[in-house]
């Protein structure tokens, strides 16, 4: 006979405002099997938990129902308390009378009646809970980091410095990400390359880091502590072990005029190339789409000039499988291209700003390349159209961002600051030039950030115009920018030589398909979702996977680096133990009913279902049935929904329990 204890939480007033908690306690106290019921202001607080523990001991309770908030919030808290009082933690269930009841209802009478039903259902369910032993699984103390921008680099270095092996996967030929493209960085204006390249070199030289550039994650199997990751190493056409990075091949390659993506297509590169001189690794790749050898079979010059014989036209993609225990996702961002409406996207284009049509309308990253000492103009601000120095320059902020009607409602966070930086860089380089900025608000929270922004106005003489631009068009060699100054209430028209658009920060292309491979969730923009916006900002809801950098939302470098170190700390916490305890809420097969159709095996996303032979004592095969490996099962219940004969069930969610809950209504 069960002696169930029910504890009704007021949640301050969150619950008790709309639910008569005392009446709920009194009513459920009368249910068969309930030995004790009470209510308390904050069940999760220390005194609340002590109340629970004391009642278990004094009342000799056998099962517990805590009626409070969502189990996502505090199930772990109460199970721990129950365990401390000597009961198996899985004999404790939560009834959600906050999110499912008090928060969504106004009528106290009705909400109370509903709360009684919710608790009554959980009483019936918990009666049939079994004692479950905790499952321990081994932890592979190696980590995968996906994305070699500043966030991925920082996470990899931190984890590796702690003595654990790291596999860093970058899909471009070099690590570095967007930070490698920047000229100087706010809020201090130190040169981006100067602070970035040493870190890139550290990665290359670190004995604990294996770097796979020009590579992508193909398949992720397994679970926290025990992932198997298949990585596609795209054919580089250059043997990394032989290449010394001398660069003769790049000098001799007759194809010279391929727009370099790294320079935002302003500079040119050969068909065999490294994206920038400080690339790590300094091993070129052949761009097969543009290489004469691959197109026509002729040429082959690079192979002839390569001293160590590193060029290999026959190279094929290879797949490597790496066992890892944790994954840090740091795939960063992309800038919104505004020329036209992106295909298949809900986001509307910004054709009215002429990007892609008027050559001297560029985006912020292109400006970074112009301003960069190692950029295509050697750091001179010159117009792409005719190479002249622009004397009037207009910056327009919030292109794409904060425009609900156009499809993006978030703020890209970095544009106010980098536009301020751009006006300074411009003023430093073009002393007689004038910069104008169209902006909606200046958002400059952060240490020394507002000071930085003020400096651009007060010392560097940028003219800030509060208002949006309605249209711009080419007139001779000028670009006419028409907008409004809402502070003064007048229309303004500026004849500019160059226009820089601060376009929205968006997730990388393909961010959603990577998320599907990893089994992590993402929002409607494809930014990856953290497990809890406030309390678990670097973890994914999928155990063992962590987030760093702009792939989770727009971020500047200090934020990306902090988050990367935080993710690394989470990985190291995981690796601090040899074995990992995990929830034993897993599926079990009732072998008597199982007919071995393996529908369960086909649907199990975790690969937890195996085939098991049942033999008699003489060793004759009786039948083959399904077996769920408890270490692998993620407790999703998909098999249970699929099994035609109802022969596999999730502990705590058995058909018997679900039906008992329905019948309690």
């Amino acid at each position: 006979m069960s002696r169930i204890g029910v504890f009704i939480c007021h949640c301050g007033e969150n619950i008790s405002r709309t639910v008569d908690v005392e009446r709920v306690a009194a009513q459920v106290g009368k249910l068969p099997g309930v030995a004790f019921s009470t209510d308390y202001k904050y069940m999760c607080s220390d005194p609340g938990q002590n109340l629970l523990k004391k009642a278990i001991q004094e009342q000799k309770l056998s099962h517990i129902v805590v009626a409070a908030c969502s189990p996502r919030m505090h199930e772990r808290t109460f199970r721990k308390a129950v365990e401390a009082a000597g009961l198996n933690p899985f004999l404790c269930e939560m009834a959600n009378i906050r999110e499912h009841c008090s928060w969504v209802h106004e009528d106290k009478e009705e909400a109370t009646a509903k709360a009684i039903e919710i608790v009554g259902m959980m009483v019936e369910r918990v009666k049939k809970n079994r004692v479950l032993p905790t499952i321990t699984v081994p932890v592979t103390k190696r980590s995968l980091v996906i994305g070699g921008g500043i966030a991925g680099i920082q996470a990899a270095l931190d984890i590796a410095d702690c003595g654990h092996e790291v596999i860093l996967v970058e899909r471009e030929p070099s690590i570095g990400g967007h930070m490698a493209q920047l000229s100087e960085t706010f809020p201090t204006l130190d040169c981006s390359q100067c602070i970035m390249t040493p870190k890139m070199v550290d990665v290359a030289n670190h004995p604990k880091i294996t770097l796979y550039t020009w590579s992508e994650v193909e398949l992720v199997e397994g679970y926290i502590g025990n992932f198997q990751v298949t990585i596609r190493r795209k054919a580089r056409s250059v043997d990394e072990d032989k290449c010394t990075g001398c660069g003769v091949c790049m000098e001799k390659c007759p194809i010279k005029k391929i727009p370099n993506k790294f320079d935002c297509n302003l500079g040119m590169r050969p068909a065999i190339y490294v994206p920038f001189p400080q690339a790590v690794p300094n091993t070129p790749v052949i761009d097969r789409a543009n290489c004469t050898k691959f197109k026509t079979g002729k040429c082959g010059l690079c192979q002839k000039v390569c001293g160590p014989g590193a060029i290999d036209y026959e190279q094929e993609d290879t797949l490597v499988v790496e066992p890892v225990g944790a994954i840090v996702v740091a795939t960063g961002f992309d800038l919104y291209t505004i020329d036209e409406k992106p295909k298949g996207s809900a986001i509307k284009g910004y054709g009215e700003f002429g990007h892609g049509k008027i050559p001297d309308v560029i985006d912020g990253m292109t400006f970074e390349r112009l301003a960069s000492a190692s950029g295509p103009t050697g750091g001179k601000i010159l117009r792409p159209s005719d190479g002249k120095e622009p004397k009037q320059i207009v910056f327009i902020q919030c292109i794409g961002s904060r425009a609900r009607e156009k499809g993006i409602s978030y703020c890209s966070k970095v544009c106010c600051m980098y536009t301020a930086k751009h006006t300074m860089l411009y003023h430093h380089k073009v002393h007689d030039g004038q910069a104008y900025v169209f902006f909606m608000d200046a958002r400059t929270p952060g240490k020394n950030y507002d000071e930085f922004w003020r400096r651009s106005i007060e010392e560097e003489e940028a003219v800030y115009i509060r208002g949006m631009v309605s249209r711009l068009y080419q007139k001779g060699d000028k670009i006419v920018v028409m907008g409004s100054d809402i502070a003064v209430g007048v229309q303004v028209e500026i004849e500019a030589d160059m226009v820089v658009l601060a376009t929205a920060v968006q997730p990388q292309k393909g961010a959603d398909s990577l998320a599907q491979k990893l089994g992590i969730s993402y929002d409607k923009y494809n930014f990856y979702s953290e497990a809890h916006a406030k309390l678990r900002p670097v973890e994914c809801a999928t155990a063992g996977i962590y987030l760093a950098g702009a792939c989770q939302g727009p971020k500047d470098i200090p934020d990306a680096v902090s988050q990367a170190s935080a993710a690394a700390a989470k990985v190291m916490t995981l690796f601090a133990k040899d074995k990992l305890e995990r929830e034993p809420i897993v599926a079990r097969v009732k072998e008597g009913g199982c007919v071995g159709c393996f529908a369960c095996k086909k649907v199990c996303a975790y690969g937890a279902v195996e085939e098991k032979e049942i033999r008699d004592r003489q060793g004759n095969l009786i039948k083959v049935v399904a077996y769920v490996n408890p270490g692998v099962c993620g407790g999703c219940g998909t098999c249970q929904a699929t099994c035609p004969s109802k022969s596999v069930e999730l502990d705590g969610y058995t058909d018997e329990q679900i039906v008992a809950m329905i019948e309690a209504l």
Binding site: G593, V595, C597, F598, K602, A660
Partner: protein, 307 residues
């Protein structure tokens, strides 16, 4: 208008399978063969399992050979496959059931010797066995059949493959009629049909795909489907049946044939098959498919129902 159907192939097919059966039994290639033999009433046929070469002469193939013998390999006669490699006489529709069973780990191709039979059609379930095969007496499923020659068998008699002579597709016509009704009228139609069910579970017993040892309808802890033949429980059973067979049903129409209450069970099966074809481009066929549409997911799947 009644059209005659050419049944001249059946004699040649019978002779050929007798010869092949005798050969493989005497050579020890198989331990037993599941096929058809003449039954007591004139012109009728019944399933038979033979294991002696001399019994091969008992095998026949006629328009009365209606049964889907696949069921004898899974549950009804489970001990037969245990004896070794088994020969089985299969029509095209039956072969689809075998392919499905292989995909669901119930049978292995290497344990079977498939004796495929070219088929001009079998008689409908309400027709006397010695009736002439015509466009009226033919089973409805045969009016829609395009698989008169079972592919990839170990043996197929060398006779000219009969062609489907442009018979009116009976299920398609009936589905079109039902689809034209309002949801209320359709509901009323199925309600009436299902209310006739007496829960004898003959449809389940005869279906090769109902191979569960403990059908969920027989479970009582908890009871999922009411056991007495009352409207709610009947509905539950028929929905379970339709959903469990969706994408798997071979269209052999055995369920419909055995139903003592004449419930048009294969009509529902065909409708489900049509839905799956439209939604997932899936058809139960001769290929052993690793995953059915209801236990796989691709990003091309129709998601419109979520929004």
């Amino acid at each position: 208008m009644t059209q005659p159907i050419d049944t001249s192939i059946y004699a040649a097919v019978t002779a050929a399978i007798q010869g092949e059966a005798k050969r493989i039994l005497s050579e020890g290639q198989v331990t037993a063969i599941v096929g058809y033999a003449a039954a007591r009433r004139k012109g009728s046929a019944q399933p038979i399992v033979i294991s002696q070469p001399d019994d091969a002469q008992k095998l026949i193939f006629t328009p009365a050979c209606v049964n889907n013998l696949a069921v004898y390999l899974t549950k009804a006669k489970k001990e037969i496959p245990k004896t070794g490699k088994i020969g089985i006489v299969v029509k095209g529709c039956d072969l689809k059931a075998l392919a499905g069973l292989m995909g669901e780990s119930q049978l292995k191709r290497e344990n079977l010797y498939l004796i495929g039979v070219p088929c001009a059609g079998v008689l409908g379930s309400t027709i006397q066995p010695d009736t002439e095969l015509t466009s009226d007496s033919i089973a409805p499923k045969c009016t829609e059949c395009n698989e008169r020659m079972p592919p990839e068998c170990d043996f197929v008699p060398a006779v000219q493959v009969p062609v489907n002579q442009g018979l009116e597709k009976k299920y398609a016509a009936e589905i079109a009629r039902l689809e034209a009704l309002t949801p209320q009228e359709r509901w009323a139609y199925w309600k009436e049909q299902f209310s006739k069910c007496i829960k004898c579970y003959a449809c389940r017993q005869v279906c090769p795909f109902c191979f569960c040892e403990q059908c969920l309808c027989d479970r009582n802890k908890p009871q999922m489907v009411e056991t007495t033949p009352r409207p709610a429980g009947n509905f539950a059973w028929h929905i379970v049946r339709a959903m469990h067979l969706a994408g798997r049903c071979a269209g052999c129409a055995e369920c419909e044939r055995v139903c003592p209450m004449d419930i048009p069970l294969n009509l529902l099966n065909r409708k489900m098959a049509k839905e799956l074809k439209e939604l997932f481009e899936h058809e139960a066929g001769f290929e052993v498919q690793e995953k059915g549409p209801l236990n796989s997911f691709t990003d091309k799947d129709d998601q419109s129902f979520i929004k």
